[in-house]
């Protein structure tokens, strides 16, 4: 079944509703103080995401540092019309974390630690965090996905796997996994009411 219908466009906010965006815009002008404040606002999410993906504190720290310095370096490329500053920075972070786990050496280390292809219980993610809105919402919305959707998203986003690897790990057809990942994100988007 073909599934390439366009999604309805919902404009990301481009007004002052994104305080991090204001800090990032100031950062783009070389404002080191604004960058320090930006750090204080996002470092926990940047480091936490890196740690979740690379599963090693020392490497997570390196990834976080690379991503945050990259945010400083390329802050002027941030376009508020395309999303929030948090999304922009966490996208940088995730990309770097994934690159890291896909490098051969890191993968060996990591699988040694985590067990090859072993799915990680979602609970050990949630245990780490303070009780907060996103946590509950994300958990609730993940719970509404089908098993295949949820596992696919989890292995891809938290595990840094390609969708082809996900298909292999879940013993599912590649086109199915590809489609389920997109379906899952659309469902999550609607459940989380993202896209503002």
């Amino acid at each position: 079944m073909r599934d390439s219908r366009p999604l309805p466009r919902r404009s990301p906010r481009s007004d002052g509703g994104d305080p991090l965006g204001a800090l990032l815009v100031a950062t783009a002008r070389g404002d080191e103080r604004a960058f320090g404040e930006l750090y204080d606002q996002v470092a926990g999410r940047v480091y936490g995401l890196a740690l979740r993906v690379v599963r090693d504190p020392a490497q997570a720290e390196e990834v976080a540092q690379e991503a945050l310095v990259e945010a400083w370096r390329s802050a002027a490329r941030y376009d508020p019309a395309r999303g929030t500053a948090a999304t922009w920075i966490l996208t940088l972070t995730h990309r770097r974390a994934v690159d890291r786990v896909r490098s051969a050496q890191a993968r060996t280390d990591r699988e040694h630690r985590a067990g090859a292809g072993e799915p990680v219980a979602y609970d050990d993610v949630t245990d780490q965090v303070a009780v907060r809105l996103e946590h509950q919402q994300v958990r609730r919305c993940l719970g509404r996905l089908t098993e295949l959707q949820r596992e696919s998203v989890r292995l891809a986003y938290y595990g840094g796997r390609t969708y082809r690897e996900v298909a292999r790990l879940l013993d599912a057809p590649v086109p199915t996994v590809k489609a389920r990942i997109r379906d899952a994100l659309i469902r999550l988007r609607d459940c989380l009411e993202v896209g503002r």
């Binding site: 073909r2 390439s4 999604l7 466009r9 481009s14 002052g16 994104d18 305080p19 204001a22 800090l23 783009a28 080191e32 960058f35 404040e37 750090y39 204080d40 606002q41 470092a43 926990g44 999410r45 940047v46 480091y47 936490g48 995401l49 740690l51 979740r52 720290e61 945050l68 310095v69 370096r73 002027a76 490329r77 376009d79 395309r82 929030t84 966490l90 996208t91 995730h94 993610v125 780490q128 907060r132 809105l133 996103e134 509950q136 919402q137 891809a156 986003y157 969708y163 082809r164 996900v166 590649v174 590809k178 489609a179 990942i181 997109r182 994100l185 999550l188 988007r189 009411e193 993202v194």
Partner: protein
């Protein structure tokens, strides 16, 4: 179709790869194919932006305190790193300038709220009480609105025992965001309750759970309030403050 696509079993419907792209779940070849497609498909870029924003939310539950030393390393390396100029085709200039005028106020407000306490704590309870995502989002928007208000001002106080209370107020919006951190656990199942006080009257703006050491609340009616107070109460809170433990003038 380009030869690059034919080489792999890549579905010619590159569009369906956008979900995997948003999760960084593509290998280099697939990724190039999608990049190529995105160049000529504004609808796809719009979809990608939304799905990326969605994917980013998956990072929320992973938040973890970074090592303290990381801050100096990042800021130090940034200070030695030249910044890129803006992309020539950026469309954000108008927005950037509009934000620019607000940066000082926002920065002042955020400096106070920086650190372990996120704005989102304020809406934990509303989420727990089963309110809809839209209502919660509306509250987050109000929080952001206070923090970015042009007239935002900050009142801060150290609490007895080492905690901290901060409030960002906007008189124009008649709203404020109050943050308390580092509260000591109270014995005997007691907890803290937050109040806006004026004259002899006190209005509850939040009750912490027993053992909860921090909270952020959105409050309205700050123009009429003279003080922000913290009292100690039996679990569940009280209708009027039993014992005002700390207060600060607004």
């Amino acid at each position: 179709m380009t030869p690059r696509w034919r080489r792999r079993d890549l579905d010619p419907e590159v569009h369906t790869l956008i979900g995997a792209y948003a999760l960084d779940a593509l290998d280099a070849d697939d990724r190039r194919a999608v990049d190529h497609h995105l160049d000529s498909c504004p609808t796809c870029r719009a979809e990608l932006d939304e799905l990326r924003a969605t994917a980013t939310r998956l990072a929320d539950p992973t938040e973890a305190a970074p090592p303290a030393a990381l801050r100096d390393r990042v800021l130090g390396q940034a200070a030695r790193t030249a910044q890129q100029p803006p992309a020539a085709d950026t469309t954000s200039g108008r927005t950037s300038r509009r934000w620019g005028v607000r940066v000082a106020a926002v920065a002042a407000a955020l400096a106070v709220l920086a650190g372990a306490v996120g704005v989102t704590h304020a809406v934990d309870r509303s989420a727990q009480s089963g309110r809809t995502g839209a209502a919660v989002q509306a509250e987050r928007d109000r929080l952001s609105g206070v923090l970015s208000a042009p007239d935002a001002r900050v009142v801060a106080a150290r609490l007895p025992g080492g905690g901290q209370a901060n409030m960002v107020l906007s008189d124009a919006r008649d709203e404020g965001v109050a943050t308390v951190t580092g509260l000591r656990a109270l014995p005997g199942g007691h907890t803290y309750q937050l109040w806006l006080m004026s004259g002899g009257a006190a209005r509850s703006v939040g009750v912490l759970d027993v053992g909860q050491d921090r909270d952020t609340v959105l409050v309205h009616g700050v123009r009429r309030a003279g003080q922000f107070g913290i009292s100690t109460e039996p679990a569940g809170g009280s209708r009027t403050p039993s014992n005002v433990w700390a207060s600060m003038d607004l």
